[in-house]
Amino acid sequence: MFAVGLAACAVALVLALVRAMRGPTAFDRLLAVNAIGTTVILGIALHGYVLGRPEFVDISILYAIINFIGTFAVLKLFDTGGLGDSGGRAKPDLPSGEDGQ
């Protein structure tokens, strides 16, 4: 069953990759990359069980954290045009604490 799950992760990854290539806007691509990260996390965990080394779960934790932080970093780059404190341009009409996270 673990091998079947690994194959399903591969299929889901390929479908998300299709969306990442075709997506009309950058947000579609970002959503697809987020989904690819999720399937990679699941694939690492299942791959450890297929090989009989379940210690690979540690790498999955690392990937989960990197996926979350990376998505928010790219979102902040899209939203404010920079990764610094206030971004590239100041947006005073935003409620505070919305784009930082």
Binding site: A12, L15, F27, I41, D58
Partner: protein, 167 residues
């Protein structure tokens, strides 16, 4: 007991596989960013939750299962947050969701070829409206691409067929 645990974990992983495949198919097939977020949310909660639960049931109560639970809980809370943030930033960047009248046009386009003449006579006003909505949605190359096939009414069949062929 061993067999019961195997069956339970297999069932959980199968449910997770179904959710994962369904979500990724929806990610490819759905028409809009804001509807694709639903598909991604399904992958991130149901797929991850069931597969991690199946692995935990298979593992028993060890340190590995605690780590698996950590991954599951982290993804269960952070993935919908990330999806919501993507939708919020996209909406603030000027991307408008597809509304009701656009959906009507899509349904007519998806119909078989027989009632095409009647539909084509009835529809061009709505199509023009939808095209203008799409045009002001993204003032870019996408608008130009979308507007060109929508202008002539009998060619309304063409974009649907083209999209179907591209998949």
């Amino acid at each position: 007991m061993e067999q019961i645990i195997d069956i339970l974990s297999g069932l959980c992983i199968a449910a997770g596989i179904v959710a994962l495949i369904t979500g990724s198919l929806g990610l490819v097939r759905l028409p809009d960013l804001f509807s694709r977020t639903h598909a991604v949310g399904m992958m991130d909660t149901a797929g991850v939750g069931f597969i991690i639960l199946g692995l935990i049931i298979h593992e028993g109560f060890t340190l590995i299962s605690v780590k698996l639970a950590l991954v599951g809980i982290f993804l269960f809370f952070t993935s919908p947050i990330a999806t919501h943030a993507v939708a919020q930033v996209a909406y603030r960047a000027g991307l408008k969701p597809i509304l009701d009248e656009d959906r009507t046009v899509g349904r007519v386009r998806a119909m078989p070829a027989a009632p095409k003449a009647k539909a084509a006579r009835k529809e061009p006003k709505k199509t023009a409206k939808a095209a203008s909505r799409k045009a002001d949605k993204t003032a870019g190359k996408k608008a130009a691409v979308k507007k060109a096939p929508g202008k002539k009414a009998p060619g309304k069949k063409a974009p649907g067929k083209k999209a179907g062929g591209k998949r």
